[in-house]
Amino acid sequence: MSLSVTNLSVNYGAHNVLEQLQFKSLTAGTVTGLLGPNAAGKSTLFKAIAGLVDSSGEISLNAENIGSYSKKIRAKKIAYLPQSFHSSLALSVFESILLSLKQQSGWRVSSTDLNKVGDILSLLNISSLADKDIFELSGGQKQLVAMARILIVEPQVILLDEPTSALDLHHQLAILSLVKKLTVERNLITVAALHDVNLAAKYCDQLMILNHGTIQAQGKPSEVLSQSLLGETYQVWTNLECTSKGQLYVEAELIEDRLATAG
């Protein structure tokens, strides 16, 4: 199973957000971290792959152009987790997950549907939240529910737009660890937009750096993360170290602060 993108362009009016973007085929069972500064086009890339914005170019899943899929089939194969998650709804966790499942099947709720929801709640260890309304949940719990909502349709590709934003360190690690585990167990193609370079290096099999509407680099974290690329991408001074566990560690500082300290 593979996902590839060729010459993908997206415009918002006169503004070109993505320009002839392409990346090497992403394979099943791997987590790819999408890095890039704010407004680089990360969310737009996800939305284009999920079919939420108009785009030109070719997006292929298993060598098949997904432009030919209906909205429903595309949503079944490619699950997209947006950044924002409505929190004031009087909808229980169980209902919100069932809702996601029912977009793909008939109107009636069968016992199989209910058991599927029960199973996914158990899998993510959030059965105790089932009766709670979404607005009652903490940020970490909401992310887990959102994960359950996309996993229940058994997609082939999952696109996570900043899944760790607004989470404390514990929950950031917990979510990414879960994503990594599920990607391998379910043989998924996972792409996660992340801001924390160190977390990306720790949990992702490969990284893509997106800037100015194109992919600037793609490969294993050790191949992609370099002082010059990070410096140019984020306009910061960086220092890369390898920990005793062989893990890359990126230390970053604003260039002006660095110069002030040095001077």
């Binding site: 997209y80 909808l91 209902e95 059965s127 009766d131």
Partner: protein, 365 residues
Amino acid sequence: MDRISESKQDLVRNPSEFAETTVIRFQKRIARKLQLLALISILLLISAVVDISIGPGNFSLATIFEVLLDKAAHGVKLEVIIWDYRMPVAITAVIVGAMLGVAGALMQTLLNNPLAEPFTLGVSSAASFGAALAIVTGIGLVPNVGSFLVTLNAFFFALGTCVLLLGLMRYKHIGTQSIVLFGIAIFFAFNAMLAMMEYSASETQLQRIIFWMMGSLGRASWMQIGWGLALLVVVLPFCMSRTWRLTALRLGEESAMSMGVDISRLRVEILICISLLAATAVAFVGAIGFVGLVGPHIARLLVGEDQRYFIPLSALLGALMLSLTSIVSKTLTPGIIYPIGIITALIGVPVFLTIIIKHSKERGV
């Protein structure tokens, strides 16, 4: 050894058992929602019967039931009073209330705004202007319709406003909040034109306009009931078949689209339903506010956002509210039947405020 293997088995078995109890708990919640729907249906039935039994002519409940079961049981006079006067009023209250309840619920879902309803979005004002135009100038959108001129004018003006909102919605760069603001602008624009009509109206015409604007069940007829029922029979199942998509829409457009919902198509379909329901309801009874606002609001508090229960409960609560209002309008001052629009606002405002304050305290928002 046995104990260790037993506890291991427990660990293995527990997740699925947990899943099972979660499912059972969910099923119990659903059962409670269905019980609530049944309870409100019973209350609605009782309210409708009470509505029929109340009137200037003091008849016992037993007499009313006998005439309901057999038209000719107590002579022609009672047959006319019960079957031609009271029943059309009581049933119209139920049908129009249900229409306004559903229209309000759908508008709130579609525009993601709890204040959206036919009244606040200018649909009722447009209908009032249409009616006033026919009353004062005799100008109608449909020619040669005789006594139906006022009703049809109101209907087409209301429908036109909904179509305008639909057109705006189809325009890509207009967000739902802008549509609500546009609706409010329509409300004020038609109210200003209505004031002009009132200013140039004769005393008799002015009386008719004011009576129309206040909303009244006095024009209820079996023909209206037939049309209203036919519309509900078509529109309600259609909307119910889209309830999963509508609930997804409540999670936000992006989330709904990521689930595979074709939101452009859904919006058009639902706005057509809203247009028909709101325009028909307003054309039948005039401008009645708060039913489309309060009914769905209470329904949301009782059953949440799952539109499979929210829409039917909004219909039932809208119907119950208008039916109870019909009773109050007849009993407030013996011998006087107040326009129903006045009563809905009088009862609706304090009830609505109480709910909002209580709900805000509970949620801490």
